[in-house]
């Protein structure tokens, strides 16, 4: 089942707030050059480890995501 991305990985705010559409375009652009810092499921700050060719981000509640 596909996970819903409820929170922005860059700024940690909810992806859709009343009266807002596409409010995270700038965040998406920033995420091209940095790993997500906030969990897409709960908006918590994650522990992020960047290595020379990959990164890993851990949420205490929702576990680990990584790239590649």
């Amino acid at each position: 089942m596909t996970k819903l991305h409820l929170y922005c990985g860059y700024c940690g705010r909810p992806r859709t707030e009343p009266g807002e559409e596409s409010s995270h375009d700038g965040c998406a652009e920033n995420l091209r050059m940095e790993p997500p810092r906030y969990c897409s499921q709960c908006g918590r700050r994650m522990q992020v480890q960047v290595s020379p060719t990959s990164w890993t981000a851990k949420c205490v509640e929702h576990g680990e995501t990584s790239n590649p």
């Binding site: 992020v48 480890q49 960047v50 020379p52």
Partner: protein, 345 residues
Amino acid sequence: MSTAAEEATGTTAEDRDILAIAREQVLERGVPLDETQILRVMRTSDAALTDLLALAHEVRMKWCGPEVEVEGIVSIKTGGCPEDCHFCSQSGQFTSPVRSVWLNIPELVKAAEQTAATGASEFCIVAAVRGPDERLMTQMREGVKAIKEAVDIEVAASLGMLSQEQVDDLVDMGIHRYNHNLEAARSFFPQVVTTHSWEERWDTCLMVRESGMELCCGCLVGMGETVEQRAELAAQLGELQPDEVPLNFLNPRPGTPFGDLPLMESTEALRTIAAFRLALPRTILRYAGGRELTLGDLGTRDGLLGGINAVIVGNYLTTLGRDPKEDLALLDDLKMPIKALSSSL
């Protein structure tokens, strides 16, 4: 005397005069520019930029050669730093989203392997600390040993300010090069950091230089310093005579005091690269953080043809870099061989 062709380019008499001085002094004789001369270079017009970059490239090729040193870096201890370097997202004093995390030894070795796989000859282990405590020194001792057993690569370190005993310990571990940046000119430093002094950084650099380890000492430009302070910084680095100078361009980080500063203009960044090369003709001058945003693909190429002779490939400590394959393809295109392990620039 200037030719009609030179005047037609839009360069000024002052541009042509300082470039002629630099050509004779730095290119022909290998004598670095002094602070006043560096400032004159940094004040040259945009019309002179192509000529300036070409001269800086000639200087690099004559005094350093065509090889490019490739390095990868990793953070062994991220975030939670007690210092207040105003550009840094890892300071515990700001509301940055970066959380504290430690890298374990298997992951450290994996990062060294990733770096070596790019063809890099240098792997730098970095910690966000004022200076290393016993826990970090123990982690370094075990980590460097594990890397040396598994990966054929030179190991460098950047762990903040050191005591003489810690310098000696790092030498014993086999650390090849130690990084400790001045970050900014002495006159500008108090506006960048208040929790330690420029002089404390200088003292650590002197201890490293005397230790037998190579000294890597760089800086960050685009933090609101004046062009005079940028020239002062280049001259202070010249006085220190580091083996390597990593040149960072400010990437304004959310939550830091410098988070709202604008990016440095690309022409200004390129002029800075060339001026640093003329101030440091024999030094390894490395592209470090912020170049992707400040210079983009085209500017990255221009810098490699304007004095740069080393790159950090792949990701940085908390942000992502270009795909290493793109940088390696660019070096291949420019016919700049990657420095082999254990050869000297």
